[in-house]
């Protein structure tokens, strides 16, 4: 979570405090007129192109809840497939006032403040062990968080003098990661999952948390997952303490971690 996002968070929270019953705030897609509901769609149908297939595409859009759907492009793809582009007017609307996205609750601090907080509250270095687990070899994300160099000008955890950062790299078996976490007495475990095809990341992540449970150390570590298709909500569902998506940086994770550590150790 970037500093920018947490600003919004504060905003919404204070709103909620101010008035408990929020006015509904319906929102619909916008093309060129408020509430016109305009949406663009594209998809393939596994049938050759003909007028009936085109009509099928249109009917699908009707079923999705589009008024006046128009198939603006239809093209045969060979081998019994056809491609469609549609525009339609979405009938659905959502009430923004009812949406409260789960977010890890913390304020993103800068590196110095984080170091200071760790020094003050923990009185020792925070130990962070990270890895890209199981078959996943996409280390660029975890490296962005952990390695000295960091990402987009945001230095990684290795550059934090109050953090002991151990990046185990790619395709690390969950067993190996857990063993290392125990060995290093890790405060925080960072896991990266980038490949999501057939939801393999869910299997991998569940496997890791089961292992931690089995080893009886789940409660002793702060368990964090990140990746381009990871949301905090998903992470929570999987029993993780936090989840970080695209555009996360070391300071976001570190801020969360020390915040969570303090919470646990003062509660």
């Amino acid at each position: 979570m970037s500093a920018d996002m947490s600003k919004h968070l504060t905003l919404h929270t204070s709103e909620t405090v101010a008035e408990n019953r929020v006015e509904p705030n319906f929102v619909k897609p916008y093309g060129d007129t408020m509430n016109d509901g305009r949406v663009q769609l594209s998809f393939t149908l596994p049938v050759a192109l003909d007028e009936n297939a085109k009509e099928a595409a249109r009917q699908l859009a009707l079923e999705m809840g589009f008024d006046e759907p128009a198939v603006v492009h239809a093209e045969d793809m060979g081998q019994g497939f056809s491609f469609y582009v549609l525009y339609g007017q979405c009938k659905h609307r959502v009430d923004l006032s009812r949406i409260k996205v789960a977010k890890p609750e913390f304020e993103t601090l800068d590196k110095d403040a984080i170091n200071a907080l760790i020094a003050e509250k923990m009185g020792r270095k925070m130990v962070v062990v990270g890895a890209c687990i199981e078959t996943d070899a996409h280390t660029v994300g975890i490296d962005a968080i952990m390695n000295m160099k960091g990402y987009n000008g945001h230095k990684g955890l290795e550059s934090y003098h109050e953090v002991r950062a151990i990046n185990m790299g790619a395709q690390v078996d969950s067993e190996e990661l857990v063993a290392r976490a125990i060995e290093e007495q890790a405060d925080v475990i960072l896991v990266s999952q980038v490949v999501t095809q057939k939801n393999i990341h869910l299997d991998n992540l569940t496997r890791l948390s089961d292992l931690l449970e089995a080893e009886g150390i789940r409660d002793r570590v702060i368990l964090v997952v990140g990746g381009p298709r990871i949301s905090h909500e998903l992470a929570k569902e999987l029993g993780y303490d936090a989840g970080f998506g695209t555009k996360s940086y070391a300071e976001d994770v570190a801020s969360f971690a020390i915040n969570e550590w303090i919470k646990r150790h003062t509660a």
């Binding site: 093309g31 603006v72 525009y87």
Partner: protein
């Protein structure tokens, strides 16, 4: 980009032909005025508003002058005479006439009436000059955007919705916002009045709409630190009036072509030739950049086959523009990226055409239009057609760059279409920032040969047009594959032969004072 090797002698010959073509038309048309030229004159003298039937007072007044057989003398001195006689403003004269309370006649003191008309006109010229100064100051303050300037249209039909979209576009990077006009307005022989919310495929051009949009763009421009140019359509049956409104409200650009109305709106030739002179003169004085419409030819004719007709028309438009006092940097000569994407080597020909135009008009503020005709419902493919258009534009140093929309074949732009179009252009322009400085095309190669060929064809066609005259050439379908006759089309009834004492204060003031 390195210069293509072109024969300057051919360019000069073509330009000379065009000069003679335009002057002959101008000379023939000088004996006429039109109802809309007179209405524009009245507007510039302060007549505005509508009657109870929403008929604009300039129309009521001019109709009255026609009834009284006074129009051939020019509206200005008649109205100035009535103002003096009855101690009324021009607006009050118009209201009184509309209310049936006043019947106009030739001024008692013709010379005095002319003088007072001139004084009123001079005041308006001061106002317009002040608007021009505001524009210069603002541009000086915030600096000029890098060319190609990103030009975007809004076309919701509702001026207030247009404003929302225009602000967002400016914030996203547009340098120019054009408010597209409602389908059909160009054939109305009056200009609608007030803020409007009900257009089809565009929003009515009204003075109030101009004012509202100008204010909105000034505001967002101040916020983002960039002067946003405003564009509208000075075209159709009310070309001169729209020029007048635009001059007063500080528009920055106007679609304004010497032949577009004839060809694409079947407006009478005489009417258009007369109107275009007056409207351009106003534009010239107001420091407005005109955008000519040659790009449209390529929507009805083939972009490869008809390439020379574009250049020929640009040369004619240039000469008409000179006659009206426009400077080269006010000439947004139009051309377009409209070659069939399936044509092998089409990109090479686009480069050749764009660079040819660039070299023939080195000082002009060229307007380059995106693919439209060959855009389809396949928005993904269309987005790439637009990207290649962006490439040619930066490579050949175009000035006004109308952004292609991937949804061109579908609807007037949605906000996201514009957003993505800006991203497209910004990406291409940035990643190719200095490419124009690096690229050279092979001497004697396909690109250069193609440019030479189009130039040679242009020389030829202009020589032909010169022989038969522009009206006859239009009659033969020379441009856009569309043919029109001298006495056909709409609006001929608004063409009035001037009487020998015809008077209009603006030409003298404006032609002298253009920047």
């Amino acid at each position: 980009m390195s210069q293509l090797n072109l024969d300057q002698g051919q360019i000069d010959r073509a330009r000379e032909s065009a000069r003679r073509i335009a002057h002959r038309v101008f000379d023939d048309m000088s004996q006429y005025t039109t109802t809309t030229v007179e209405r524009a004159t009245l507007r510039l003298m302060g007549v505005d508003g509508v009657d109870d039937n929403q008929i604009p007072l300039p129309n009521r007044l001019v109709a009255h002058l026609q009834e009284q057989k006074l129009l051939a003398h020019g509206a200005a001195s008649v109205v100035a005479g009535a103002m003096a006689e009855h101690a009324l403003t021009a607006q009050q004269v118009a209201e009184a006439v509309a209310a049936g309370k006043l019947v106009l006649a030739r001024p008692k003191h013709d010379k005095a009436a002319r003088q007072s008309a001139e004084a009123i006109a001079a005041k308006m010229c001061e106002h317009i000059a002040a608007q021009r100064a505001v524009r210069s100051q603002q541009i000086d303050k915030v600096g000029e955007a890098r060319t190609p300037w990103l030009y975007l249209i809004v076309a919701t039909g509702n001026i207030f919705e247009d404003i929302v979209q225009a602000r967002a576009a400016a914030e996203q990077g547009a340098d120019i916002v054009a408010v597209i006009r409602s389908t059909g307005q160009s054939l109305l022989d009056y200009v609608p009045y007030g803020a409007t919310t009900e257009g089809f495929g565009g929003t009515y051009a009204t003075q109030e709409n101009f004012r509202l949009m100008r204010a909105a763009l000034d505001e967002v421009g101040a916020k983002i630190g960039r002067y946003i140019r405003l564009t509208n359509y000075c075209s159709g049956l009310c070309m001169p009036e729209i020029a007048a409104m635009g001059a007063m409200e500080r528009l920055d650009m106007m679609l304004n072509d010497s032949m577009y109305g004839i060809i694409f709106r079947d407006i009478n030739m005489k009417r258009t030739f007369i109107d275009q002179f007056f409207s351009r003169m106003v534009n010239a004085y107001a420091g407005i950049i005109i955008n000519t419409g040659e790009d449209n030819y390529l929507t009805t004719a083939d972009a490869f086959d008809a390439a020379h007709t574009v250049l020929a028309s640009q040369l004619i438009n240039e000469q008409f523009a000179y006659i009206s006092g426009l400077k080269p940097d006010q000439m947004g000569l139009g051309h377009a990226f409209e070659i069939n994407p399936d044509l092998e080597n089409g990109f090479l020909w686009e480069v050749a055409h764009a660079q040819l135009v660039r070299q023939v008009f080195p000082e002009a503020c060229l307007k380059y239009m995106p693919p439209t005709k060959h855009m389809t419902g396949n928005i993904f493919r269309g987005h790439i057609q637009d990207a290649l258009f962006n490439v040619v534009s930066t490579l050949t140093g175009q000035n006004i760059h109308l952004l292609g929309m991937m949804t061109e074949a579908i609807h007037t732009p949605f906000i996201q279409d514009r957003f993505l179009a800006i991203q497209n252009a910004k990406y291409v322009f940035g990643t190719m920032r200095d490419l124009h400085d690096e690229v050279e095309f092979k001497a004697g190669g396909r690109i250069e040969s193609r440019a030479q060929q189009v130039l040679a064809e242009t020389v030829g066609i202009l020589a032909d047009i010169e022989k038969i005259g522009l009206p006859a050439a239009i009659g033969r379908g020379t441009f856009a594959d569309i043919s029109r006759t001298m006495d056909g089309g709409k609006g001929l009834d608004g063409v009035i032969a001037k009487s020998p004492d015809y008077y209009n204060p603006f030409p003298d003031l404006m032609l002298a004072g253009a920047n």
